[in-house]
Amino acid sequence: MSNVQLDAKIPDGPLEKKWDRYQADMKLVSPKNKRKCRVIVVGTGLAGASAAASLAEQGYHVEAFTFHDSPRRAHSIAAQGGINAAKNYQNDGDSVWRLFHDTIKGGDFRSREANVYRLAQVSNHIIDQCVAQGVPFAREYGGQLANRSFGGAQVSRTFYCRGQTGQQLLLGAYSSLSRQIATGQVRQHTRMEMLDLVIVDGRARGIVTRNLVTGEIKSHAADAVVLATGGYSNVYYLSTNAKACNVTAAFRAYKRGAALANPCFTQIHPTCVPASGDHQSKLTLMSESLRNDGRIWVPKKQGDKRPAHEIPAAERDYYLERKYPSFGNLAPRDISSRSAKEVCDEGRGVGPTGRGVYLDFADAIDQFGQETIRQRYGNLFDMYSHITAEDPYTTPMRIYPAPHYTMGGLWVDYNLMSNVPGLFVIGEANFSDHGANRLGASALMQGLADGYFILPYTLGDYLARTQRDQLTPDGAEFKQTETETKAHIQRFQTGSGKRTATSFHRELGELMIEACGMSRSAEGLQGALERIPQLREEFYQDIVPPGKEDNVNSALEHVGRLADFFEFAEVMCHDALTRDESCGAHFRAEHQTEQGEAKRNDQDYCNVSAWEHTGVDSPPQLHIEPLKLETVKLAVRNYK
């Protein structure tokens, strides 16, 4: 008998009225009682910081945890492009409906209508809120907010702060959080990593953390727990995520009963700087706008090692232009990424590792002149030449796709609460809004929507409906969870292995990008499902004991996170194997049109697959939440 009940709890009524009705009907906690409520927020990125600040402003006592030295270091800071909102400031026909529709369609019809509609509704408030905080958005000469069109959208709805939008939005949320820390309404716990979730009487009531400086294992109790712990792209080892990004907090919640939804939906960004060798520790994203003027090609011949300028036009394969004549180099992210992988698999990749394709500006420079190209892409070219020591004005850039964002995550209902009562999940850590693919400039929107405008309401409703007590973290459940956490760490200390976590992580990553990356197949996934448990076993056998626990120890941190990635990778492959269709970023080689396009199967897979943990050595159990698309018509993407 399973514990997982998937009830999305979507309010009744027409789509446009659902959120209003919800707000009208929700229960409130009285100001006097709010002070007695304690909420744990794990993670201080866009979602976590905005949630912690907003909850504290409302009067709740918040305990905010981050494994960084400061909330401002969270990886939201690295988002470059911008944030969408349905303001229609440009009078180009944008609306809440259009943003909603674009998001559902972009996600290839694998997300919940009600959630996405609400996201589009609150998107406008986010901009207002950020402006009020002093976020220096780009402005027109007349002083109005500037917008740009982003990621192939037909309207200009993206707000931006140069190429540092994520940074400025995070610093805005961080400043609001700092204000609450100063008042004592938020207590901040830096350099603390959540290692487990504590469940008391079926409700999430606390967490167990490890202090990354002293090694202390400690429990914290609260009336509700909010996870804002980001995505899991680092399961691939090389990704655009920061080094510390990991799945541990979400995965430990999964092991305590929370369902993991659509974990195989991962986005691979087509324009990243390729790895330069085995030492590569992470990948760097470059703006997709480069594809507006750059032409993507590889040599026609396999193993052609001539420098780019020695390869005559007739021996070049401009494969995107060839396969997708109308979209050409601007083909969507997933198509573009997959095609790059295919040509490299054929042995036609360029650069020292053979995992790269050219992005060539020679024609654009001929046509517009170097000065125009410099004006358009100067800082991106500088960044590229800084990293690679090559001059993109004279030598074509090399690019390769890199894992970038994960649409999947812990399953949540309309309240952003997981199937474990009292456990809320926001931002990239949940699965809710992006379906099988995320639109550009929508990640920042979702993180802030969840944190500023949705969770503070839905959490209040939960607390108002729940019996509250002043639980202290010394009950049996807390002690038991602490003991298990310590045992988990101890498990690595006894061996006498010789391999480091990094070498295992790299191997897992290579396996995952091959089997569960840009292109997946039943055969490849089955192979991975056989190999991952073996590799995990080797990991436990051969890992070097990480040593000291009572001090800063990066080796120990990495081993713990990697152990979770190993188990998580299996769930991911199960999900990818079970979803026997292609949709969005999930491309199953068996399901493609004659032109090599993703072929959806709406009959059987217009749903959310949510996985329940049943034990480390037994396969997870699948639960299905059907997606009822009542407003949007299913359509087939066509980029020919």
Binding site: S70, I77, A78, V131, Q133, G143, V213, K282, T284, P545
Partner: protein, 249 residues
């Protein structure tokens, strides 16, 4: 390529430390300085030794985590760069490289190259915000902000809070950091209501955290990965004087 590293090792905050020499062999010129440290750490971990502790995260120059002094320069020998964006091609094969933690009383060393920069957070907590609760904000376009004003605010707001300015300053002054935040909000109309109080409180916190006084030497701006200019320090001084005047908000 091969390099010889001299790295500050210190086990904990109250312990003494020293420079320890490590050979770093078979490196690629395309490695970043942090990847070089990864490489050395891999060997240390495999040998059962403690890896060199250092803060790092995004490795694309924006999170502000990396914090080390390479050959006497915070972040290392390249202008407008964080350590993660400095590649070994900046060095010659066989070079000696000296890596030390950021040094300042306000940044106590936690371990090896890892320092505690929470003093910077406390400066922000003292007033580096606009008191705008979530909800009820007017429309974003209700208050037009001239483009040059928004751009100027963005110049100051680009600070990544890494603390290199403090590390480079002979006096360990946090003026450039504080100036960037105070100026961002003093430049924008949204920051007007709390302008004087903010400057007063942030400066008082800065002094309380044991940062030194500014003697206008300019090392801070010279090493700043985001090239925050010295004119913001002048602006901070202006804001400070302004905050002392009667009726300043």
């Amino acid at each position: 390529m091969h390099l010889t590293l001299h790295v500050w090792r210190q086990n904990g905050p109250d312990q003494s430390g020293q420079m320890v020499t490590y050979p770093a062999r078979n490196l690629s010129p395309d490695m970043s300085v942090l990847e070089m440290l990864d490489h050395v750490n891999e060997q240390l971990i495999a040998d059962g030794d403690e890896p060199i502790a250092f803060d790092h995260d995004c490795r694309e120059g924006i999170c502000g985590s990396c914090s080390m002094v390479v050959n006497g320069l915070p972040h290392g020998p390249q202008k407008a760069s964080t350590t993660c964006q400095i590649f070994l091609r900046n060095f010659r094969d066989g070079d000696d490289i000296y890596i030390e933690p950021f040094r300042a009383t306000a940044f106590p060393i936690m371990k090896d190259l890892m320092v505690d920069r929470s003093a910077l957070d406390r400066i922000i907590q003292a007033g580096g915000y606009v008191s705008a609760n979530t909800g009820g904000a007017p429309d974003g376009n209700a208050l037009p902000i001239p483009q040059h004003t928004a751009e100027a605010a963005m110049d100051a707001a680009a600070c990544i809070g890494c603390g290199a300015c403090v590390a480079a300053c002979k006096n360990a002054s946090a003026m450039l950091f504080t100036a960037a935040k105070v100026s961002q909000l003093a430049t924008l109309p949204q920051g007007e209501a709390e302008r004087g109080e903010r400057a007063r409180r942030m400066i008082a916190q800065m002094d309380q955290e044991m940062f030194g006084g500014c003697t206008n030497q300019g090392a801070c701006s010279a090493v700043c990965p985001k090239e925050i200019g010295l004119e913001w320090i002048a602006k901070l001084n202006r804001e400070h004087i302004r905050s002392k005047l009667p009726q300043a908000t």
